[in-house]
């Protein structure tokens, strides 16, 4: 768990991060969004003390980060940035081994960990371990960057626009993969982005920043239904708002008794996808199937639409 308390950073007389407090639960993903120059990166970099706070403090599992030597602190925190910063003169395996080597792991343990991570990120160790970064595609470099950050099993991962350099198709896949790996490892993540879709897809909680201030820190649903300020409402997107809300709601919520014609929708799916299928198939309702394929009820356009607006 990390607790950010009244964190402030000034450069001269300009305040770049202004009295920000927030808490990220163990194993959760917090996404920081905001326009460029809002202070997101600075906030993130104060967590691993790449930037020293002017005021306030950061606690990781209750421990004040100022009490830990900064390099030691960073060994325990994964760090991924836009462009990744892979070491061009080192192989993929050597890049991934960076922090374990700093920690003095034995070479066998390092080699085993490198292979394990390459497998986890779907990079064949036999093919990729000895390649140099310039021999990799953008998506492969990104995966190596994340693998390198996770090498020493950090409980906390900081990511600054980690998908910013990827094209849309590869980005969507990389986001899904990250989510799957995070759920599996239980890593706490603080991720900075200016992409609202990314924030809604990944964030358990979303922190909206503007002009150095934290405007709202809430779950995606709350952000949509109870925006704290006009700015949040505009950032969230008044046009996309209902669809974002539907995408955050499971089919279960709008399940009705009875049957219907057509291709069944999975119970685990969300309402946005369900609506999309209804529109595309030209039907008023569709059957819903549980994971075993048993029809458990149906879902209708009217039932779905009721969930696309804030509760009265």
């Amino acid at each position: 768990m990390i607790e950010i308390e009244h964190l402030t950073r000034r450069y001269g007389s300009t305040v770049v991060v202004d009295d920000v407090s927030l808490r990220v639960e163990e194993g959760a993903i917090a996404v920081v969004v905001g326009t460029s120059g809002a202070g997101k990166s600075t906030l993130l970099r104060m967590i691993n003390r790449l930037v020293e706070p002017s005021a306030g403090r950061v606690l990781i599992d209750g421990q004040d980060t100022r009490t830990v030597p900064e390099d030691e602190l960073r060994h325990r925190i994964g760090y991924v940035i836009q462009g990744y910063g892979l070491f061009p003169h080192r192989t993929v395996a050597e890049n991934i081994a960076t922090v374990p080597r700093l920690l003095g792991w034995g070479s066998k343990r390092i080699a085993a960990r490198v292979n394990e991570l390459l497998d986890l990120f779907q990079l064949d160790p036999a093919e990729f371990a000895r390649k140099f970064p310039h021999q990799l595609s953008g998506g492969q470099q990104q995966r190596v960057g994340v693998a390198r950050a996770l090498a020493a099993r950090p409980a906390l991962l900081l990511m600054d626009e980690p998908f910013g350099a990827l094209d849309a198709v590869i980005r969507a896949k990389a986001q899904e993969d990250l989510l799957a790996i995070q759920r599996r490892l239980g890593t706490t993540i603080v991720l900075v982005t200016h992409d609202m879709n990314e924030a809604f897809q990944l964030g358990d909680r979303i922190a909206v920043m503007d002009q150095a201030r934290l405007l709202q820190y809430a779950t995606p649903t709350e952000l949509l239904t109870r925006p704290a300020e006009d700015f949040v409402e505009r950032l969230v997107g008044t046009v996309e708002r209902p669809f974002r809300l539907l995408s955050l709601t499971g089919v279960q919520a709008a399940l009705e008794p009875g049957g219907a014609e057509g291709e069944p929708i999975a119970l685990s799916d969300n309402l946005q996808n369900a609506l999309s299928q209804l529109v595309w198939s030209g039907r008023e309702s569709l059957p819903v199937a549980d994971p075993n394929g048993v029809i458990v009820g149906r879902i209708s356009v009217g039932g779905i639409l009721a969930h696309g607006r804030p509760p009265a």
Binding site: D71, Y79, G85, F87
Partner: protein
């Protein structure tokens, strides 16, 4: 299918080389004959300089190599032609010295003349061009350099050139030759080592502390613009004063003239390329790489040693190459203020109008600079390969 061409497929550089060879063979003297070491000499064409059959053979080989240069495109064949050409004229010039010196005459001087030098230049150009076209790796280039030096050393040791005037100059001063050679290397390498010792940390400091950068680089730039002889002169005064005032300094060999001001001047000239290239090298290390390194908890020292230096090494080595080649040449000027080195022979030779003596100083200097350039280029490439 190769495109059809009209006429002979001439290689442009090869044609120039062929013309040079033609001029050298037909219109320029192969060696110069002088009755003694300082009178002016008379040229001897190839046909007069060697026994008829040998002259004919050398002529045929050189002519053939010229044709090959113009007509053959395969770089290996061109390289072979160049090497065969060199293998013909190098021993031939030694032989011609023996052939032309009247027996029992120890005053007569035979030295290579325009024809020989043109042929050497032509074959060297041809060899260099074919080596470039072969795109040799750094290790192969180093091996080629070692082979070339080995071959020349073998010729020198075999005594095949002992009749040439330049080696007669050498024979009368073989002791001082090696002393000045050591001194020359000491001046060039010593000043380089000192410049690295000071310049690399200074460059790193300039990189870290932006405020220092402009000032330091400008000061070094100003030094660079002082002509060498003026800088030697400028340094004579303070060092002379220092020696007069401090017996300790005098005891260490620091004087207004001699090696001390020469070494100091070369050191000062060396600083700019080393500091500037260190700053440049460190600057071009991508900021995102350094940021990632910091973020993963590499200490400032670990970043410098593991990331910044390896990634800037090719550019730093380029700076060292500039300095080494420059200092090997500039060290010649040190002789003017009593600093020793190969310049001693050059300036003595100029004073005595003895061109052979000038060459005795100049040729090793050129050879050293040439070798230094090749070695450091190869090292730079190796550093790039691993960076």
């Amino acid at each position: 299918m190769r495109p059809l061409r009209s006429g002979l497929p001439l290689d442009p550089l090869g044609s120039v080389i062929a013309i040079l060879i033609g001029v050298a063979l037909l219109a320029a003297p192969f060696v110069t004959y002088r009755a003694n070491r300082i009178v002016s000499g008379e040229g001897r064409m190839l046909a007069e300089a060697l026994p008829v059959l040998v002259a004919a053979a050398v002529f045929a080989v050189a002519f053939g190599a010229g044709l090959a240069a113009a007509l053959i495109r395969n770089p290996l064949a061109r390289l072979a032609a160049a090497l065969v050409g060199l293998a013909a004229i190098f021993p031939a010039v030694g032989l011609s010295a023996v052939f032309l010196t009247p027996s029992g005459n120890s005053f007569a001087r035979i030295s290579p003349s325009v024809g020989f030098w043109l042929l050497t230049l032509s074959f060297a150009l041809l060899a260099a061009d074919s080596l470039t076209r072969l795109r040799l790796g750094p290790w192969a280039r180093l091996a080629a350099l070692a082979t070339a030096f080995g071959a020349v050393a073998l010729l020198l040791l075999s005594g095949a050139w002992d009749g040439l005037s330049i080696l007669k100059e050498y024979a009368t001063r073989s002791d001082s030759f090696w002393r000045e050679a050591r001194q020359h290397l000491f001046l060039a390498l010593g000043s380089l080592a000192a410049a690295c010792l000071v310049g690399l940390p200074l460059g790193m400091l300039c990189h870290r502390v932006r405020a220092l950068r402009a000032g330091i680089l400008q000061a070094l730039n100003v030094i660079q613009t002082i002509p060498s002889i003026a800088l030697f002169g400028l340094l004579m005064v303070p060092l002379g004063t220092l020696a007069a005032a401090s017996p300790l300094a005098a005891g260490l060999g620091i004087r207004g003239i001699g090696a001390a001001p020469a070494l100091l001047a070369l050191f000062l000239y060396s600083l700019l390329p080393i500091v500037a290239n260190t700053v440049l090298g460190l600057n071009q290390v991508p900021a995102v790489v350094v940021d990632a390194a910091r973020g993963m908890g590499l200490s400032a020292r670990q970043r410098l040693v593991q990331i910044e230096i390896p990634l800037s090494l090719p550019i730093i080595l380029a700076g060292i190459r500039i300095v080494l080649v420059q200092n090997l040449g500039l060290a010649t000027v040190a002789a003017l203020i009593g600093g020793g080195g190969f310049g001693t022979f050059v300036f003595q030779g100029i004073g005595q109008s003895a061109i052979d003596l000038v060459l005795l100083g100049a040729i090793p200097t050129v050879a050293l600079s040439f070798a230094a350039a090749i070695i450091l280029d190869a090292a730079t490439e190796l550093a790039k390969g691993s960076a």
